[in-house]
Amino acid sequence: MSQAEKLKQGQFTNPETPGYVGFANLPNQVHRKSVKKGFEFTLMVVGESGLGKSTLINSLFLTDLYPERIIPGAAEKIERTVQIEASTVEIEERGVKLRLTVVDTPGYGDAINSQDCFSTIIAYIDDQFERYLHDESGLNRRHIVDNRVHCCFYFISPLGHGLKPLDVQFMKAIHNKVNVVPVIAKADTLTLRERERLKRRILDEIDEHGIKIYHLPDAESDEDEDFKEQTRILKASIPFAVVGSNQQIEAKGKKVRGRLYPWGVVEVENPEHNDFLKLRTMLITHMQDLQEVTQDLHYENFRSERLKRGGRLSSHGYILPLSPATVVHMKTQHLS
């Protein structure tokens, strides 16, 4: 039988190079399953009132998470302690679902005495770890929801000369529990020169105080040049100086998100005006890494500390610690 006839009868499934097994297709199998499953991501935003956190979040995800917002006046603020408000949005793009939760922390830094304003926030982060540990240790693990905080944007005021004492204290209190990404808010208050100076100052202070912020991993040697360049630029721009806006302004004949001043329009998505796009790029291209670092570093730290302590686990029961003797016992146990 001739080759042509054989092919016509469809007898050969793949006319291909000899020696090809086909497991190179495995990443595609994984890809397909991830698309079906979708993603969960939790982002926390922390910073004083009025730094544009809510506006920025809305700008980042082109959504309006706070449609009926009422800004509390000073009288109400005096009484307030730090609240935790979590909102969830489902974003779908090209068949991929992302379930994004934004955790806002209104009241942070508002009180006259902000001595204790972050204990609520830390308790929230720990509580999510605790819940995950509980679920992970349970008997039915089919539908574990991951509400752990994967990233924390910390908003720094552009008005000072660097970090405030509260900024330093807070970041040091959470840098072992969550990935901290410092952000300079309302960057349109500063000229470009002032921004550069402030960024350098902040980086120096972060170094000085031993604060561990999230480090973007270097691009691998086999990535394409574009990606490597992008990573270099992102790394060089930290901390990102951003501007957010919910308004569409007419500028240069088109509608842009921006802020209208008598002296001009600040465009949110113009990289020459601010680092908004860089922040968004960083968040999206590193979403998976942020999750991994949370899982492999912060969560595992929490878990080992927790297991060593043992004792009561929220309202769900006890965790019995795994003593070294028990570990040895398990290792020598054989199945009969």
Partner: protein
């Protein structure tokens, strides 16, 4: 606290914002998936396959053919001698193979001695034990305080069971083995050395086997109850129609019409292994490697391993708190203060 999430629905229209700003003009959620894929490729994969069947059914040859390299124990052991072993013992051989940048650590677990004795009662015990020991190792690591970031996975993802080409029915040993092990591992039965049967004989044999599998309630891969959605079901139904695959293995190449073809040469013709008109080797390869490799691992991890884990945790719980490792004693009816430390 106010930590109940409010739900909102939204469809991103970042396309509207495509700008001419170089890299940062458009960033999509797809970028996350690309990163995942890239990372998966870098880390590599583990895949553990067990082969079970009597001597002489071509198990080693089939594995070599599947992975197009000498991965079986036979090919790797110097001074290898063909002999019947007195007991079933398991031997595993690992290789790291690479294709188009994707690295795979492939482990083949061979089970010489299975079904070869005069009295084969309980010859499946060592195999069952091996599979459970792998689950136990994984569980121990998962429970330990300072556990490894990537727990080494030695669990058996797939057990290829070789049926001799008798053309009749499943034998008692086949039924016993598949029934027991189908509960703890993914079983893929194959009709070995299928070139002994004509196409008609194969089809009849297959139908009888399928009827037997149903009658004895044997669970083989892909299991109907684990189909995730309609799409999966349609795909898997097609596979379920065709199993067990009738396979032929070889590592010899011959010239056929100017092409190098894997095949077995006889006086009456060349049996072309990768020719779907000759045998179903390609279907087996596609199932195990090209389309369902990840699924085999997922079912092992999410179903078989979880079943084992639940059983173990309950066993440990019932044996008394004094010996328990990390576990939760659920509050409610069991609010005891007795167990804060061991």
């Amino acid at each position: 606290g106010g930590d109940t999430p409010r739900m909102g629905h939204f469809n991103s229209s970042l396309e509207d914002h495509t700008r001419d700003h170089g890299f940062f003009g458009y960033v999509g959620i797809e970028a996350v998936l690309d990163q995942m894929r890239h990372k998966a490729m870098k880390t590599g994969f583990e895949f553990n396959v067990m082969v079970v069947g009597q001597s002489g059914l071509g198990k080693s040859t089939l594995m070599n053919t599947l992975f197009k390299s000498k991965v079986s124990r036979k090919s790797c052991t110097p001074d290898y001698e063909e002999k019947i072993h007195k007991t079933v013992h398991l031997q595993s051989v690992s290789h790291v193979i690479e294709e188009k940048g994707v690295k795979m650590k492939l482990t083949i677990i061979d089970t010489p001695g299975f079904g070869d004795q005069i009295n084969n009662e309980n010859c499946w015990d060592p195999i069952e034990k091996y599979i459970n020991v792998q689950y136990e190792e994984y569980l121990k690591e998962e429970l330990s305080i300072n556990r490894k970031r990537r727990i080494p996975d030695t669990r058996v993802h797939c057990c290829v069971y070789f049926l001799p080409p008798s053309g009749h029915w499943l034998r008692p040993i086949d039924v016993e083995f598949m029934k027991r092990l189908g509960k703890i591992v993914n079983i893929v039965p194959v009709i070995a050395k299928a070139d002994t049967l004509t196409i008609e004989e194969r089809l009849e044999f297959r139908d009888r086997i399928k009827r037997d599998l149903e009658a004895y309630e044997i669970s083989v891969y892909p299991q109907k109850e684990y189909d995730q959605d309609v799409e999966d079901q349609i795909l898997n139904d097609k596979i379920r129609e065709k199993i067990p695959f009738a396979v032929v293995g070889t590592d010899k190449e011959h010239q056929v019409n100017g092409n190098k073809i894997l095949g077995r040469k006889t006086k009456w013709g060349i049996i072309e292994v990768e020719n779907v008109a000759h045998c179903e080797f390609s279907d087996l390869r596609d199932l195990l490697i090209r389309s369902h490799l990840q699924d085999l691992k997922d079912i092992t991890h999410n179903i078989h391993y979880e079943t084992y884990r639940v059983r173990r945790l309950n066993e440990i719980k019932m044996n008394g708190i004094g010996l328990s490792p990390l576990m939760l004693v659920n509050s409610g009816s069991e609010k005891d203060d007795a167990g804060n430390h061991v």
